[in-house]
């Protein structure tokens, strides 16, 4: 079940907004909390226990850390000479508490999402050595959004540990931060300092916020219902039976999947940000025109931004700047020089980031492979950066040149396609099988002659609608890339043009949307992660 469907957004949410606005300001956050928990229970039933446990642990861990901080500061004031020793001592205490908090939260995640993967693999290993013992494989339904809210929970206690923020004394605010309903299913992964205060402020839903919110939501539905849902059948069919299709059709399937993933995920983010906007909460953007990126490394700062930022802040820098790594860097710089020396520790940290990033998406070898693929691309890109720089200079290629930029984007997009191919493939082996067919059995002539592309649930008119809609989305992206604030610009236009835009959006969803008989909507892809 997904609540990103129009029925929920256009029928249930308005009722929530009405109730929210009618109650006194003080009770508004409670309304949000009750609603969020209600939805959680509706979807995940008794598993809500785990959400509550996460809330309780981070609340108490954070407050304990805060207490230690205050005590330490007092002690330092009393004996300034002992500053260093006191600091060290308290750091040790704090670390113990922090690790306890992390272990509890990560173990829930591990239990629900990774236990089976590890059990299956251990069983295979035991089999290999003829040991007659097997772990029982149990299947659990994980609490909804556990991958997302666990990262939020960790960021909260880590931020308190690093003293970036103070622990919250109000447990309800912590609960709302973790459980806020639009975000819990597919993110974005917010930081406490970004949303918690506004979430609990109980701002009134104003007319402007209401309009702006629904505009953003409509745009999200255009992406989801017109494009993503339309591609669903094609993608599933091609990926599940790839050996019966030609390389050309597989390529269409792979491109289709990447487009579908982008449209589904970024469309959902539009909806989430729109809903946040109703309540005056500025949820950070999770996408910034990823396909305009120059290289893979930049791509990941524009696609699922909140996840990349999380890994950067809590894995990459802490690992690469740890004491041991710094020593390593120092040594490496002496041998490899200033450019490549720090790359060693960087590469190790990057490896950690992408292994975890792959696994975060799911327990499976395809995801691990996907992570390693991104790791390799980013590392190679960094190693060869100076070489490419010099070559360009020698050949007098202007790297800001539009032709060069397009070349870069196309190259990067191809790398993305390959990555997403493995991401969606049923197994790594199948992924290679598909890749092989694309390169060895493209067979464009036969594909066109046998009308293979039209046996996948889409006729030529469907392809046409997809392409036209993508062009519109591309133009919007281009304008955003050029720093146009489209919403403000639209709101300055006169009412006729404005309303025409809205009517066009609504009617195109109603008419060209892929819903009703003959269509199966995409399940929220990221909600499974």
């Amino acid at each position: 079940m997904s609540y990103f469907d129009p029925g929920f957004i256009f029928l249930v949410v308005p009722i929530l907004l009405l109730i929210y606005n009618l109650v006194p300001k003080k009770f508004r956050p409670i309304i949000l909390l009750v609603f969020s928990f209600g939805l959680f229970i509706f979807i995940s039933k008794w598993l809500v226990v785990f959400l509550i446990l996460s809330i309780l642990t981070i609340y108490f861990v954070a407050n304990y850390l805060d207490k230690l901080n205050k005590k330490r500061n007092e002690l330092i004031k009393e004996e300034p000479d002992n500053k260093k020793a006191i600091k060290e001592k308290y750091k040790k205490y704090k670390k113990r508490i922090l690790i306890l908090g992390i272990i509890i939260n990560v173990s829930f995640l591990f239990f629900f999402k990774y236990l089976n993967f590890f059990a299956t693999n251990t069983n295979l290993l035991l089999d290999l050595f003829n040991i007659d013992f097997k772990f029982r494989i149990m299947s659990f339904l994980a609490p909804i959004g556990i991958s997302f809210y666990t990262l939020e929970a960790l960021s909260y206690i880590l931020d308190v540990y690093y003293e970036k923020i103070e622990a919250d004394k109000n447990i309800l605010r912590v609960a709302l931060y973790l459980s806020f309903f639009p975000q819990i299913m597919e993110g974005p992964i917010s930081r406490y300092s970004d949303t918690a205060k506004d979430l609990y402020a109980g701002y009134k839903v104003t007319y402007n916020n209401f309009c702006f919110g629904y505009q953003r939501i409509l745009y999200g539905f255009v992406k989801k219902i017109i494009i993503a849902d339309r591609l669903n059948f094609l993608v599933n069919t091609v990926f599940d039976n790839y050996h019966t299709y030609s390389g050309a059709t597989i390529l269409v399937g792979v491109i289709g999947y990447t487009v579908m993933l982008y449209m589904e995920f970024s469309g959902t983010m539009d909806i989430v940000i729109g809903i946040g906007g109703f309540f005056g909460i500025k949820i950070k953007e999770n996408f910034r025109q990823p396909f305009f990126a120059k290289n893979i490394s930049e791509f990941w700062t524009r696609w699922h931004i909140s996840l990349g930022q999380w890994f950067k802040d809590y894995i990459f820098y802490p690992v690469s700047l740890s004491k041991r790594m710094k020593k390593l860097t120092l040594k490496a710089r002496k041998i490899l020089g200033n450019r490549f020396g720090p790359l060693i520790s960087g590469a190790i940290a990057l490896f950690a980031v992408w292994s975890l990033n792959g696994l975060w998406h799911g327990a499976g070898y395809t995801f691990l492979f996907y992570g390693m693929y991104q790791f390799t691309l980013i590392l190679l890109g960094n190693i060869f950066e100076p070489t490419i720089n010099n070559t360009c200079k020698k050949l007098h290629i202007n790297r800001q040149n539009i032709v060069y930029r397009v070349f870069q984007s196309v190259k990067m997009t191809c790398f993305v396609f390959i990555g997403e191919l493995f991401f969606r493939a049923p197994t790594v082996k199948a992924g290679f099988g598909m890749l092989k067919r694309i390169f060895t059995d493209f067979n464009l002539h036969n594909t066109l002659k046998s009308n293979q592309l039209f046996t996948l649930g889409l006729d030529i008119k469907d392809y046409f609608i997809i392409i036209v809609t993508l062009i519109v989305i591309f133009i919007v992206g281009l304008l955003k890339e050029k720093n146009h604030n489209i919403r403000t610009e639209i709101s300055k236009k006169n009412i006729i043009i404005r309303w025409m835009i809205y009517y066009m959006l609504i009617l195109s969803i109603i008419i060209f949307g892929a819903y009703g008989p003959g269509y199966i909507p995409v399940d929220p892809i990221y909600a499974d992660f």
């Binding site: 690093y162 003293e163 970036k164 490394s297 930049e298 700062t301 950067k312 990459f316 820098y317 802490p318 690469s320 700047l321 710094k326 860097t329 120092l330 710089r333 200033n338 450019r339 020396g341 720090p342 790359l343 520790s345 960087g346 940290a349 990057l350 960094n382 720089n389």
Partner: protein, 75 residues
């Protein structure tokens, strides 16, 4: 400050570090370059930059990096 600019130019020759104010947000410095930068600064100025300080607002311009160095030197 001059020494800092030198270090920066060594890492990224194409950028005018006296004027650019979005080194991170504009992706002039990516995360691996930051590592090199941190290593160089730590050695050059004999300070230690804690992980917490590695945030865009501290690294977006040469000026803000310099302010960070000054702050850490005092501690």
């Amino acid at each position: 400050m001059e020494r800092l600019i030198e270090i920066l130019e060594e890492l990224q020759p194409d950028v005018d570090f006296n004027t650019v104010e979005n080194l991170i947000d504009g992706r002039y410095l990516d995360s691996l370059t930051i590592l090199s930068l941190v290593a160089e600064i730590e050695e050059e100025f004999d300070i230690e930059i804690p992980t917490v300080e590695i945030i865009p607002s501290n690294f977006n311009s040469a000026k803000s990096i310099w302010e960070l160095i000054e702050k850490l030197k005092e501690q």
